[in-house]
Amino acid sequence: MELLLVIMIAILYASGIFMLLRRSMVRLLMGIILIGNGANLLIFLLGGITPGKPPVIAETKSVFTEAYADPVPQALILTAIVISFGIQSFAIVLLRQVYRLLESDDLDDLNTPLEEDI
């Protein structure tokens, strides 16, 4: 299974980078989301995967008696997911404002003309 996850992560990263290299701003944003997902999975995978055992102590016990999934990567990813939501919403709104201003989705339209370069 690890191998399958590795392949998925690799493809998530690759497609994310591919999207980043496009000229469209929406694609750029999608690329960022894809890379974010890939990074989360990567952390998850490297923490070691254990099928079906959440890191929650059973109702009647006060310590773990059986194997459990590693809680630390989970906590990290949880934080990452929520933060990336904040970033995404900000980016989406930014994109929208740019679109309203320029009526274009093309990143190159954002450039100042070369003559004005310092």
Partner: protein
């Protein structure tokens, strides 16, 4: 989006979803759940309402702008984390009531911290969504 089915369903779903979000929040310490998820579920409930009845009506339903949740939530979290200082303990030490309360179970500072998180998440999500939909109408 003036779908009659959606409206009818939403009317029933909203209390359920909100209840569920509080449930998630409170059980977070012992079972999967917690402030983040709870807050997100609650905001989904309002978003659903917004889709069914238009966002303006949702705002009216809420009586005050959701952005007010943010400072309230932040202060709840911060107060709950510096509270231990007044008991001569390091910041963020968990303080607990001696006896479990009915329904809520053990009550401690980390529960209040989570409530703060819950409120902030609701505030942030709804603030963003309402702002966007608000400006979309202009």
């Amino acid at each position: 989006m003036k779908n009659i089915i959606l409206r009818t369903a939403t009317a029933y779903l909203i209390p359920l979803l909100l209840l569920f979000s509080v449930f998630l929040l409170l059980r977070g310490h012992y079972h999967p759940g917690g402030g983040f998820v709870g807050g997100l579920v609650a905001s989904i409930a309002f978003v659903l309402h917004g889709f069914a009845f238009k966002m303006q009506n949702t705002l009216r339903l809420m009586k005050f702008h959701p952005s007010k949740f943010i400072p309230v939530g932040l202060s709840v979290s911060i107060i709950s984390s510096i509270l231990p200082m007044f008991f001569k303990k390091p910041v963020m030490t968990g303080l607990w009531l001696n006896k479990p309360l009915p329904i809520l179970g053990n009550v401690g500072t980390s529960l209040f911290f989570d409530i703060g998180v819950y409120l902030v998440v609701i505030g942030v999500t709804l603030n963003i969504l309402f702002t966007i939909s608000d400006s979309g109408q202009q």
